[in-house]
Structure formats: structure tokens, C-alpha cells
């Protein structure tokens, strides 16, 4: 009987977990000895102001459009200046933690990226980007990008650090969302019975939701029995919520939990007013979290690529309240040991009136799917990109990875 079998399996795992390393974890770890490649996607919800994240300080027009909130050029004695990257672009000073990664050529920046869809609605634009299908909403690009699960696929192969499964990871492949795994306190007997109720439920929607939850839950509980000590002097604390999420991802990867794709998010980018202080705060968290993750992962970063995105950028001109309104083109970061970093990618469209999208926003010259396509094939090995990004034909690769740089 299925019911009984599942219950017994649950009990066995609980007993195994009490002392030694449970066998399923050993199996998952064994299957990853080949140093699986991993793609981590980070969503900046709320429309990050790309022009103040990576500052085009070489453009006179930038300073004219943003007399109050503009970031001074490097070397300026007037307030906190941008950190020079290549003589044209500079990092917001709050992103100081990322500068060493740029210097080590682990960090690539793609300018003027975004969606061909004109929406300035946060919610539509997030859905379109997470779907990977501008103008229409469906399941998530990262789910479709996963190869079919092999017999030894881990229940944690696709994981989101959030209370609900984000659209990016929704779809046919099993993917789970967890936030604070410490919250789970019910006894093993209860958990096993509830698992059985869900697995066998005639309610298809709920049976589906329960299907992957329980195996993942046991695995995480077991990992949690040993306290986690980040390595490489990594300090996740200043990274706030995103830092906590990346720490959990790091912990799972280092435990050999079989992670292939991970998703984390950071909110608080919708700065319609009083932008400078708020943007500094959120960028400090963003930069610290990414830097801590890299330090913690150490050499393992050779196998990992992190990509960041936001639903759209913001108006080139500051608004009436020391803020910016909803815009269009934005900036993406690509981070990892295999990244051909230390370079700003993409064609810069300029900030003159006639160069701006609809006369007000940074234009999009690189489709966000161009960036993601390259990473999906490089990291997950998925070559059928038409299935991941339907109705989209990628052009020549940008050369974001060392492996694709030769071709580009």
C-alpha cells in the first residue's frame, strides 16, 4: 500500500537523520561530485534605477537630467562620487563591496537591458520578465530552462528562497520555495501522515503542491542539524534579507544538496521620492550580499553564475521629489568565476532627448533574454532555447562567459 510505504520511508529517514548523515543526502551529495554548474537568478522587485546603480558619469547630459540626485563623477569632491570602472561608467558608491569582484574580472555589467514590451506596470513587467515572454504571462523561464530530471535529481534542484514560489520557477519541473526553514517544528510522525494525505489526495492542485515539499523539507531539516559557518570571511549580515537568502543557498550548495537553479529576491527599489538615501541603503545590502556569497563559495564560484534583473529602469530625468518615475532600460549584473568580467557590455544608447525611449527613458539595446539565453546554455546546458524563450531568436552571444567570449 502506497500510504504505508510512504509512512515507513518517512520514519526511516527520521531515524537515520538523528545520528549519521542520512542516506538520501549521501546519494544527493554523491551525484554532485562532478561539480554541477549552477545558475542563481536574483530579482530586484520595484524597478531599480539603473542610471544611479551604474552611473554613466562620462555623459554631460546625465548630470543635467539629475541635478539633485545624480551621483558625482569619480574624483569629484562634491559628495560621495561614483567608483570608476572604465572611464565611462562608475558604480554607485554604496556598491563598494562589488569593486574587488570587478577588479578580479568576475563581475560583468550589461547596460541598457530590458524588455521590448513597453509596460511601465511593475506587476505586468515582472510577470513578463519572469515568464521570459514579454507581452504574455506563462510559467517561468528558469523552470523551462532546467534539463529533464535524471533518476538521481535532488528534490532541491530548483529552489526559491521566498514564502511563495515565484513565477520564474513555476512550471512542469519540480521546484520548491522555502523561507525560514527553522520554523518547521512538527513531529516526524505528523509530517509523515500529512505527506501521505497530500501525496494521495484526489485534489490535483494540492497533491502537486505537496509532491516535492516533503522530500525537500526533510533534506533541509537534516542539513539544519549542523550549525553553519560561512567561509572566506563572508559577512552576510549587512546583506539583510538577500544576504540571508544567499547564505541558505550557499549552505545547500556546499552541502552537496544538488542545487542546479536558485532564485532569490530583494525588494525596495521603487524610489519615487527621496531616492539617494534609500537607494544607498538597498544597494549596500545588495552589494554586501553578493560579495558575501562570492567569498563564502570561494573556488566553487567557478561553477556558479549569478544574474540580477529588475522589471524596468526609471526615468532618465529626476522627478519633482528627488526621485524617479517608471522608465524602461535598466542594467543587469552577471557574476561568477567563469564570467568574462571587468567589462561593461551592451550598446550604450545615449541620454540626449532624441536618444531616450519615448523621450524620457533609457532605451533598451539588449533584450534581457539575450543575457539569460547565454547563461542558460552555458550553465544549465540547455540548448533548446526556443523552448525557454519562445518567439525569440538570440543574436550573436555577448560573450559574457569565458566559454562564449571566444565566439563573440
Amino acid at each position: 500500500m502506497l500510504t504505508r510505504r510512504i509512512f515507513l520511508r518517512g520514519s526511516a529517514m527520521v531515524m537515520a537523520g538523528a545520528g549519521s548523515v542520512p542516506f538520501w543526502l549521501g546519494r544527493a551529495a554523491a551525484s554532485t561530485q562532478g561539480r554541477r554548474k549552477i545558475l542563481v537568478a536574483i530579482f530586484q522587485r520595484g524597478a531599480a534605477d539603473g542610471l544611479n546603480v551604474v552611473v554613466p558619469f562620462g555623459e554631460k547630459r546625465y548630470h543635467e537630467l539629475r541635478p539633485t540626485i545624480g551621483i558625482p563623477a569619480p574624483g569629484s569632491s562634491n559628495g560621495a562620487p561614483a567608483i570608476d570602472l572604465d572611464g565611462r561608467f562608475g558604480l554607485n558608491p554604496a556598491l563598494q563591496p562589488l569593486k574587488p569582484l570587478w577588479d578580479r574580472q568576475m563581475l560583468a555589467i550589461v547596460e541598457a537591458t530590458g524588455s521590448p514590451d513597453p509596460s511601465r506596470s511593475h506587476f505586468d513587467a515582472q510577470d513578463y520578465m519572469e515568464s521570459g515572454t514579454p507581452g504574455s504571462k506563462r510559467d517561468g523561464w528558469l523552470n523551462r530552462a532546467l534539463p529533464p530530471a535524471g533518476p538521481d535529481a535532488s528534490p532541491l534542484r530548483a529552489i526559491a528562497l521566498s514564502a511563495t514560489l515565484p513565477r520564474t520557477l513555476q512550471g512542469d519541473r519540480s521546484a520548491i520555495a522555502v523561507n525560514d526553514v527553522q520554523q518547521f517544528r512538527a513531529g516526524p510522525e505528523t509530517a509523515a501522515i500529512v505527506e501521505s494525505m497530500y501525496s494521495n489526495s484526489p485534489d490535483r492542485q494540492l497533491a502537486g503542491a505537496g509532491k516535492d515539499a516533503f522530500a525537500a523539507m526533510r533534506m533541509i531539516q537534516s542539513l539544519n542539524r549542523t550549525p553553519y559557518e560561512p567561509s572566506g570571511g563572508a559577512q552576510y549580515g549587512p546583506g539583510g534579507e538577500l544576504g540571508r537568502s544567499l547564505q541558505q543557498i550557499a549552505r545547500l550548495i556546499k552541502a552537496g544538496a544538488g542545487v542546479e537553479a536558485a532564485f532569490a529576491e530583494i525588494g525596495g527599489w521603487d524610489h519615487h521620492q527621496n531616492e539617494p538615501g534609500q537607494l544607498s541603503n538597498v544597494l549596500r545590502q545588495f552589494g554586501s550580499a553578493l560579495a558575501a556569497f562570492c567569498a563564502d563559495m570561494g573556488d566553487r564560484m567557478e561553477d556558479i553564475v549569478v544574474v540580477t534583473m529588475s522589471e524596468f529602469g526609471r526615468t532618465a530625468q529626476e522627478n519633482g521629489n528627488n526621485g524617479t518615475d517608471h522608465g524602461h532600460g535598466d542594467v543587469m549584473f552577471v557574476l561568477g568565476g567563469s564570467v568574462a568580467g571587468g567589462k561593461v557590455y551592451g550598446q550604450w544608447p545615449g541620454l540626449e532627448q532624441e536618444q531616450l525611449y519615448e523621450g524620457r527613458d533609457l532605451a533598451v539595446t539588449t533584450d534581457f533574454r539575450a543575457v539569460l539565453s547565454e547563461l542558460v546554455s552555458g550553465q544549465l546546458g540547455t540548448t533548446d532555447l526556443a523552448q525557454v524563450f519562445p518567439r525569440y531568436t538570440p543574436g550573436n552571444p555577448l560573450g559574457l562567459l569565458k566559454s562564449t567570449a571566444a565566439v563573440a
Binding site: 500510504t3 511601465r120 514564502a163 505528523t190 501522515i193 500529512v194 494521495n200 485534489d203 525588494g267 526621485g323
Partner: protein, 400 residues
């Protein structure tokens, strides 16, 4: 840790929401207040909103949930909580710097304000169209967003840090003519411009359809039947947006009592917590811990940062994190481990699993649920509290 006065105010509001959901005799009003607050969502973390949300819910939302949509819309538009949240209080005509107290060469308080606020802010204008009235496909353009924002310039807050209340500040207003959704709003309208926009939006056919869709999504199904939406929208238009009449059309409809609507919705975390406590006849003397449980499941009350509020569809609440938090909550609840909440399971003593399940679910449990519980205990004696907890953790209890 000492709490600030603002934290005490928002904490009381959260606890009161739980008490009302558990014990109020006016459950429809509670559900509608929750629905409309979420529709006109305001985040506690913005500006002074932590201290203002009690008033926002009590004065702007609750009195209108069975009244006219236009009154509700206007009440939210003028409330300081919304004026802060979507930044309208700082939005002003860029011309302010050429004339009047902001013109260069002047000094004084106006110059102080001018350093913070010196032009138009589109935030409220856009969300008013997209989320509050027409819906994202309701037929508006970027030009409409800008025109609406210009109409609302000057709708601001008197004494923001002392006694926040609505005021129309003529000096901030953009006095030029505007065109909103094809309607010309003549120059010099002052405060009337914003009222004219409210009027246009409240009577727009897209608003009738969007509001009807949202209500039907709350009460009927994630994808409500189009025919039902059409009938509700007709009532909305015919009755000048009378929300009581729109609800009557919905409640009296075939679709509302149809098989397709039966148990069609997945409960939100708030609904899980409240329905579990109520099914168990829990005696809640202190709702503080229950508030925390709702947050643990992904729905921190009054704390959704995005203006869209929480999603009202199944995928919002179906995740590993949610299932884990829910099982942990129910286990703690039935075993009396939630401070302030007493559960007496002795009424289940001596009853078999099927009887307990029927009592808690209000219907027969599935054979699979019964079999899972029976197999799990393998014939051993089961504590009544454990049986109750398992029934409440079942897939059946997750639907409404």
C-alpha cells in the same frame, strides 16, 4: 524590547484584525474590509503610515464597503496614508518654481519644502488607473497617467509630522488644462480637477468590469465566469457603483452556488489561521501569537510593500514554505503551544477519525485522508488533539 508608539498602534491594529475575524458578528463586513484594504493597499513601512493605518482602515475603507465605489475611491484618495504611500502629497506643478513662494530669490518655509519637492510625481496617478479602477488593460496611456498626476497636484497633507490631514494646497497645483481618457478638464479647476478624475474613473466601463472581476475572484473562483462578471458590471453601472447591489447580483447568481465554485478557492494564511481556530472553538484571549503565525505563512498583515496587495489566487499560497509553516502552526495550535490561545480537544474524545473530520470540515473527508491517518497510527490509540490536528492539516481543510 521596547516598542515605539507607532509600533504599538500597528500592533494593536493587527491584533484587532484577528479578533474581529475570529469573533465579529459581521463577517461579511470583515471579509470586505480585508478585500478593499488589499485592493487599495497601503504599506505600513512608508512615511508615517505605521501610525495612520488604523485610521485609514476605520475611516476610509470600512464605512464604504457596502456603499458607493466612488465614495470609497475618494476616501482613499484623500487619506494621508494613501497620500504618503503613493507619494502624491509631494507631487506639484513644476511651474511652482517660476511663480509664487517657490520662485528663486524668495526665502522661508516654502524654500525648505522646495528642496524636497519640486515637480510632478506619477506614482499615484499610475496605480489609481492600473490597480484601483480601470485595471492594467483598461485602456489608458502614459499620457493619461501624466494628466491624472497633474490633476491631483496639490492634494497633500497638512502638518505631515504633527497632525496629518488632507488639504488642497492651491500653490502646488498645476492650473493648466488636461485631457484624461478623452475628457477635457479645463484650466483653473483647482481641487475640482482631482474630483473630476474620480468621477470619470468611477463611471468608466473598465472600472465596472475590473471591480466586478476582483470581487468575483475573491468570492467565486480564481478565474471567475465571464458571464457573471458581465452581469455584475451591468449592476455596477446601473446603480452608480453601489457595491451592495453588485454583491447581491453575485450572491444570487447561479455561478455563486454552482459546483464549480464549491471549494474552488485555496485559503489565504489569514483564512487558515482563523478557520482553524474557529473550527476548534479556540478561546483566544491574546491574538498576538496568531498574528505572527499569519506572517510566518507569508501574509504579514498591513505589510505588503507593493501597491498590488496580496494576490488572490491559488499559486500565491501553494509552496513548500507555506505547507511547512501551516503544519507547524496546526501542530502547535492543537497541542496548546500558542500563547494566548486555549484549545479544548476533549469534545473529540471517544470519537473515531471520520466523526472528528466531519465535525471539523463540515463534510465528509476523502477516503485518502482517512486512510492516511489510520495507516499512520497503525491501530494505536490516538489522542483527540492529534486527530484534530491531522484533519486540519489535510488538503480538504486548505480549501474554502
Amino acid at each position: 524590547m521596547a516598542r515605539s508608539p507607532q509600533q504599538v498602534v500597528i500592533g494593536d491594529l493587527r491584533e484587532a484584525k484577528l479578533y474581529r475575524a475570529l469573533y465579529s458578528n459581521r463577517q461579511l463586513e470583515e471579509v470586505l474590509t480585508d478585500f478593499w484594504f488589499n485592493h487599495f493597499n497601503v504599506f505600513e513601512g512608508k512615511g508615517q503610515d505605521r501610525a495612520l493605518l488604523a485610521s485609514y482602515e476605520r475611516d476610509a475603507i470600512r464605512p464604504h464597503v457596502l456603499g458607493k465605489f466612488k465614495d470609497l475611491l475618494l476616501a482613499t484618495a484623500r487619506h494621508p496614508a494613501m497620500l504618503y504611500y503613493l507619494d502624491n502629497w509631494e507631487s506639484m506643478s513644476p511651474d511652482v518654481f517660476q511663480i509664487g513662494p517657490f520662485a528663486s530669490g524668495q526665502s522661508g518655509p516654502a524654500q525648505f519644502l522646495a528642496r524636497q519637492a519640486h515637480g510632478l510625481n506619477e506614482n499615484y496617478g499610475r496605480e489609481l488607473l492600473e490597480l484601483h479602477t480601470l485595471g492594467v488593460n483598461g485602456g489608458y496611456t502614459q499620457q493619461d497617467v501624466i494628466a491624472v498626476a497633474r490633476c491631483f497636484t496639490g492634494w497633500t497633507i497638512r502638518a505631515p509630522n504633527q497632525k496629518p490631514e488632507f488639504v488642497f494646497a492651491a500653490f502646488m497645483h498645476d492650473t493648466g488644462a488636461k485631457v484624461v481618457l478623452g475628457h477635457t478638464i479645463g484650466a483653473g479647476g483647482g481641487e475640482q480637477d482631482g474630483l473630476a478624475v474620480i468621477d470619470i474613473l468611477a463611471h468608466h466601463p473598465s472600472t465596472a468590469r475590473f471591480i466586478s472581476t476582483q470581487l468575483a475572484r475573491r468570492f467565486v473562483a480564481d478565474d471567475p465566469p465571464p458571464a457573471l462578471i458581465e452581469r455584475m458590471a451591468r449592476t455596477f453601472t446601473k446603480t452608480d457603483g453601489d457595491l451592495r447591489a453588485v454583491l447581491e447580483t453575485m450572491f444570487a447568481s447561479r455561478e455563486f452556488s454552482s459546483e464549480g465554485a464549491w471549494q474552488a478557492k485555496i485559503k489565504s494564511p489569514l483564512e487558515i489561521v482563523v478557520s482553524a481556530a474557529r473550527a476548534l472553538n479556540a478561546d483566544t484571549a491574546d491574538s498576538f501569537a496568531l498574528v505572527q503565525k499569519v506572517a510566518d505563512m507569508g501574509e504579514p498583515l498591513y505589510a505588503k510593500e507593493a501597491p498590488s496587495g496580496y494576490r488572490d489566487t491559488a499559486e500565491a499560497w501553494l509552496s513548500t514554505a507555506n505547507v511547512m509553516a501551516r503544519i507547524g502552526f496546526v501542530d502547535a495550535l492543537v497541542h496548546g503551544q500558542i500563547p494566548g490561545v486555549k484549545v479544548d480537544s476533549t469534545r473529540f474524545a471517544g470519537k473515531d477519525v471520520a466523526a472528528v473530520a466531519r465535525e471539523l470540515l463540515g463534510r465528509d473527508p476523502s477516503g485518502q485522508t482517512l486512510a492516511a491517518i489510520d495507516a499512520g497510527f497503525e491501530g494505536r490509540q490516538m489522542a483527540p488533539a492529534s486527530i484534530a490536528g491531522l484533519v486540519i492539516s489535510s488538503p480538504e481543510f486548505e480549501r474554502r
